[in-house]
């Protein structure tokens, strides 16, 4: 299929929908957002990911208009939003608590925002019905919020915030209150609805799996700054820092001294008397500079004998095995005391597995399996 990849951020002619320009937000002495600049494009599903207190919620509340930046500018469709109150923004928000009006029915909740627009009655009725269909809530239109389930409430909140057809929809931990199974289903539903309506979504979450699943781009945040913005795959495969690598998924970090061996080849000397690990990177490191290899457990092979021709191989002892059903994680202690996690798929039955506790094994990985990081 000749579908072009959706990547407006790589097109220099594309105009961003949202622009943060050197935005700083302070609450008293506390700096929630620290001189942050970022563009977000139309039809994007943009995820703000980070631990609590990293400033992701503040960014969202500034977009909604509940907070104003202390310094800097926020532009939506080229317009400076500084003095635009929340009720005059073409932005709607889906609240973490859903914030459904308990005294109004599902129908009235969805119609609430439309009534404020003074929409004619027949048009309003059509719009509400359309939203109810989109979120599969038609049966529950007359119920009050406390008479429906958590998943249904979540969909009412979504329908209510989409009803006004905002340019931008903000979702604050939208699936946080749902259990795991429902959450996974709803993630796909959200993506589906985003595609159907063509609305730009900005989602705030602390759940990295959720961000990776739904988003076109993920921004990993820490202490009021964006550490890295990239597509989920890129964030996972090519993190730009130990912080990002560590935050997203499971990772082994091996610290050592870098030594340049070719144009993009480096040796990382991680322990005296052991052969350095070899890796490739376009990152320019000086000889002797501290470097890190970040390598995902599933990219490390476990074998009984030293594999022929492996670029990186190290011998160690299994100290722990975590059986996860479809795969097992081996915790292998290598010389110097570092414990490396390696994952192997359980293609055989348990009784016929090759390794057990205290076995000596070889760990190996390819030249490009790990990322070299300088910080």
């Amino acid at each position: 299929m000749a579908q072009t990849v959706f990547a407006p951020w790589e097109d220099p002619n594309e105009k961003p929908l949202i622009q943060f320009k050197n935005v700083t937000k302070r609450f008293g002495d506390f700096t929630a957002i620290d001189n942050l600049s970022q563009d977000i494009y139309t039809r994007e599903f943009f995820a703000l990911l980070g631990p609590s207190g990293c400033g992701k919620t503040t960014m969202m509340r500034m977009l909604a208009g509940f907070e104003n930046p202390t310094e800097g500018q926020i532009l939506i469709a080229g317009q400076d939003m500084a003095h635009v109150p929340p009720n005059e923004r073409a932005v709607n928000m889906m609240f973490q608590s859903y914030a459904l009006f308990p005294h109004l029915s599902v129908w009235e909740n969805i119609a609430f925002g439309l009534k404020r627009m003074k929409m004619p009655t027949d048009q309003l009725t059509n719009r509400v019905e359309e939203m109810l269909r989109l979120t599969r809530l038609t049966k529950f239109a007359k119920r009050k919020p406390h008479q429906i389930s958590g998943g249904q409430r979540q969909r009412v909140a979504l329908a209510r915030s989409l009803a006004r057809a905002p340019k931008l929809l903000l979702l604050d931990e939208p699936l946080g209150a749902l259990d795991k199974k429902l959450r996974e289903e709803t993630q796909f539903e959200l993506m589906d609805i985003q595609e159907k309506t063509g609305t730009t979504f900005v989602i705030v979450t602390h759940d990295q799996e959720e961000a990776m699943t739904v988003a076109s781009r993920v921004a990993v945040m820490d202490e009021g700054r964006i550490m890295q913005v990239a597509t989920p795959a890129k964030i996972y495969e090519e993190p730009n820092s130990v912080y990002v690598a560590d935050f997203i998924g499971d990772v082994n970090i091996i610290q050592g001294k870098a030594q340049k061996t070719s144009a993009d080849g480096y040796d990382i000397h991680w322990a005296d008397g052991h052969e350095p690990f070899h890796a490739k990177t376009s990152l320019g490191l000086a000889d002797g500079q501290t470097g890190f290899i970040a390598i995902r457990p599933e990219k490390i092979t476990v074998s009984a004998d030293k594999p022929e021709g492996a670029m990186n191989a190290v011998k160690g002892q299994i100290v722990d095995i975590a059986y996860l059903g479809n795969m097992s994680t081996y915790h292998v202690k290598i010389p110097g005391g570092l414990v490396i996690k390696a994952q192997a798929a359980n293609t055989r039955r348990l009784s016929r597995r090759a390794f057990t506790w205290e076995d000596e094994v070889w760990l190996s990985w390819t030249l490009t399996a790990g990322s070299v990081l300088s910080e």
Partner: protein, 272 residues
């Protein structure tokens, strides 16, 4: 594990007997045929008849109800505003004084509140009457209203108001369409509390009432100073009856609502 022992049962029985026996005696003896209040001389409703024909009491009752309705309505409006300021408006100059002025009247002895208001009314040359009682009652009961309403506002999910703003409401519309309907039960109980306090007040009313307006408590007080009278017993019985019916109805209504909500939630849980 909680254990409900004979000791607990005795304590509850004696405690509630202590609380209710005096009122029960009052009610029973309001139907006494004799003027001697402690000697039972047969059942009669004649004191109720005399009460109905006692214009002084009826006038005082009418004044009391007027004062109660008007002052508690003002107090509810002012108290709700004050509660909103206390809970929602962040810092402003004089905030400490403001919250002090809200809480101080709650612990101020009535004699002092009454005295100080009277001296104010005299100082500015305001003739004492219904109007001054209303001013006085509004002032102290608005503080009670604001305590009741602010405790509800504290637990109010602020994101509901933000959602209303987000969906296009101005701050005032958001208050009218979302906040007010949700905190309405607290506002109503604030009004009822203010109304009861106003009906009940003797001391502040005595200071601020003029010769043109006498409230029921003032009337009752001057009557009972002379001792027990069967007419006052009858009047007390009527007042106790109104309160009992009101409170019991209110508690049944709120219990029904709670049960219904619980059933709805259970139904919703099953629906998923």
């Amino acid at each position: 594990m909680r254990r409900f022992t004979w000791f607990n049962a005795t304590a509850l029985t004696l405690g509630f007997a202590f609380l209710y026996l005096p009122m029960l005696i009052l009610v029973i003896y309001s139907f006494n045929a004799s003027k001697l209040v402690t000697v039972w001389a047969g059942f009669s409703t004649k004191w109720y008849g005399e009460l109905i024909n006692n214009d002084a009491f009826l006038d005082a009752a009418w004044v009391t109800v007027q004062v109660g309705v008007v002052s508690s309505t003002f107090a509810t409006v002012l108290g709700t505003m004050a509660a909103y300021v206390l809970v929602r408006v962040g810092r402003f100059p004089g905030r400490t004084l403001f919250s002090g002025m809200i809480y101080a009247p709650l612990v101020m002895p009535e004699v002092i509140t009454g005295l100080s208001l009277l001296l104010l009314f005299i100082g500015i040359g305001l003739d004492r009457g219904i109007f001054t009682i209303i001013l006085a009652h509004t002032t102290f009961s608005m503080c009670y209203v604001s305590v009741v309403v602010s405790s509800r506002l504290v637990s109010f999910d602020k994101s509901l108001e933000e959602a209303a703003l987000d969906l296009g409401c101005s701050p005032f519309t958001a208050f009218r369409l979302v906040t007010l309907p949700i905190i309405a039960p607290a506002v109503i109980s604030g009004w009822l509390l203010a109304f009861t306090l106003s009906l009940d007040d003797l001391v502040i009313a005595s200071f601020t009432a003029g010769p043109s307006a006498t409230t029921l408590p003032i009337k009752i007080f001057s009557a009972v100073r002379l001792g027990v009278s069967p007419e006052i017993n009858a009047l007390s019985t009527i007042m106790i009856g109104i309160v009992a019916v009101g409170v019991i109805t209110a508690s049944i209504v709120s219990k029904r609502a709670a049960v219904k909500q619980q059933q709805d939630e259970q139904a919703a849980a099953r629906a998923t």
